[in-house]
Amino acid sequence: MNEHLQSIVQALQERFEADTYEFRDEVSLVLRPEQITAACQSLRDDHHFELLVEETAVDYWPEQTPRFHVVYRLRSLKHNLILGLRVPLDGNSPSMPSITSVYANANWFERELWDMFGIRFEGHPDLRRVLMPYDWVGHPLRKDYPLGYEEVQFSFNFDEINVRKPYAQE
């Protein structure tokens, strides 16, 4: 690992009592949901991580604690570094603070996470679905959401099929 990155990771580790996860020279900090805004703020202002590259999630169903991991990746143009953050979330309808106040482009990433995984972001200015139709039920990228082999849902048979669907509903 790069020395500069090492020092940043160490500083954050001490401040947030966080674990690290390392694989193939990529390092991620594992944080608690309530720490994420402060951590992003500190990374952007004190350590020059100017870009939020991506924000995504992984579903570990049928595991419940944690069921989801929200994954952030920040890039520093000044120091040419990349750093990951991971936030484990418990339960079927989790929620965590939004980081839109720190990185403006988290807006659509978080809308996508709400759409695809059903993770709520508190303090998000506009938490609507982004890719699926606005009246869609369910969150398609969850592992308990079926991929296929099912009757196609149209408006005339929507309710009929929806009753038989086992996956988590809002």
């Binding site: 694989f23 193939r24 995504t56 890719l131 009246d135």
Partner: protein, 414 residues
């Protein structure tokens, strides 16, 4: 059959979007207008909800998702190698770039080597792809301003590039030519001559486009000072690629974190500080020239040798080995039925696509199928800047601004 009255759909009420439009829209002083999803200048199926005061855009609310095909979900149900076919369909102007980043993610996950010849051919083809993507952008961008002839010239040159792709892979667009560990097969014998011919012919053609546009007073009036993007706003919104470079930040992943042997080649990163539509035009035109430089250098020092890794746990053996080696037959059978099993873990790989940083987040649970694939697509992120660029401009300029962001809806909606 059902009658119309039985269909119950909750209408998107004004309440739901009230926080996005200004107070004047609710009072009825400004007009709400839908642009798209079927509109020729939105470059695909993009819907924009516009709040207009006369012809001036007060608010612009993009609505995406009309081309959502669930590629991330589908990839979770296929083996690593079979899922590679779906990557072509994401950004349909940068097919080889999508192949590249997906293969690089698998190679990083599995710690798989790529022979130098495969690396060099990957660079040649992705740079040709960058030129062809910029040609489509330039053609349609000029077409949006009613300059029809530029469009025809650009597509004429794009055909030559697509012919080279067809020569290599049998397909013009959905090539899937790059595979984990190298290439599908070596390039044909006349590949080098075809690329050399293009390298010789293209510089004059770029000058030709520039003669048509760069000093054209109509083009200047439509682009200079339109949609100015400040560097701090660009960073805050995570904008990457030519848009960031036109705002004065020389960030290019090919230079910052060289991959696939980009550090072997000599090229510049065109950067302008104006941040307007004209600067973005200049950046992209100059990028075509730089890409051509890379292609020429890579072609000159194209090494000989194999084009795919010899690691039989990940790469199927060639046909000639299957007849004589029992082990090769077993590997062939295992790789095409079960697929390969990379170690447990997660990686992120980002490359510089024609539109910005194209990244893939790949998580493996140790099984033959990817546990999670997330595509960090440049169009999806860059798209968020459109409302900020459009504010205060005319509707006619909005058409130009959609072009200058250079979105591909397949890339936005995945």
């Amino acid at each position: 059959m059902t009658t119309e009255t039985e269909i119950t759909l909750t209408p998107a009420s004004l309440d739901e979007i009230k926080h996005l439009v200004s107070e004047r829209a609710i009072q009825g002083e400004t007009v709400l207008l839908n642009m798209g999803p079927q509109h020729p200048s939105t470059h695909g199926v993009l819907r924009l909800l516009l709040e207009l005061d006369g012809e001036e855009v007060v608010n612009c609310i993009p609505d995406v998702g009309f081309l959502h095909t669930g590629i991330e979900k589908n990839m979770e149900a296929k083996t690593y190698e079979k899922a590679a076919v779906m990557t072509d369909r994401l950004d349909y102007l940068n097919n080889l770039g999508n192949n590249l980043v997906y293969c690089m993610a698998i190679e990083k996950l599995a710690d798989l080597d790529v022979p130098p010849r495969a690396q060099a051919i990957r660079v040649i083809l992705t740079e040709l792809q960058r030129i062809s993507s910029h040609l489509v952008w330039l053609g349609t961008h000029a077409l949006d301003m009613a300059a029809m002839s530029v469009f025809l010239y650009c597509f004429r040159e794009r055909e030559i590039i697509l012919d080279i792709f067809e020569m290599c892979s049998g397909q013009r667009m959905m090539t899937t030519f790059f595979r984990p560990g190298g290439l599908w097969r070596d390039v044909p014998a006349d590949f080098e001559a075809a690329v050399r011919k293009f390298v010789q012919l293209f510089p004059e053609r770029v000058n030709e486009y520039e003669r048509l546009l760069t000093k054209n007073p109509l083009f200047l009036r439509r682009t200079k000072g339109i949609g100015v993007l400040k560097p701090e706003t660009a960073l805050q919104y995570g904008v990457t690629g030519p848009m960031l470079r036109a705002s004065g930040i020389a960030h290019d992943l090919r230079k910052a974190q060289p991959y696939s042997g980009y550090d072997l080649y000599d090229f510049d990163i065109p950067t302008f500080t104006e941040g307007d539509t004209y600067a973005r035009y200049l950046v992209r035109v100059e990028e075509m020239r730089q890409s051509l430089r890379i292609v020429e250098q890579a072609l000159n020092k194209l090494p000989l040798g194999p084009v795919r890794s010899n690691n039989r746990k990940y790469v199927p053996p060639p046909r000639s080995e299957i007849g004589v080696s029992m082990e090769a037959l077993i590997h062939h059978f295992k790789l095409w039925t079960e697929g390969f099993l990379p170690p447990k873990g997660s990686v992120y790989v980002g490359v510089e696509s024609p539109r910005g940083e194209l990244g893939v987040y790949l998580e493996s649970d140790g099984g033959p199928k990817p546990y999670r694939v997330h595509w960090r697509t440049p169009s999806f992120t860059n798209m968020q800047i459109l409302p900020i660029l459009a504010k205060g401009h005319l509707v006619a300029d909005l058409v130009v601004l959609i072009g200058t962001v250079d979105i591909v809806l397949g890339d936005v909606d995945r």
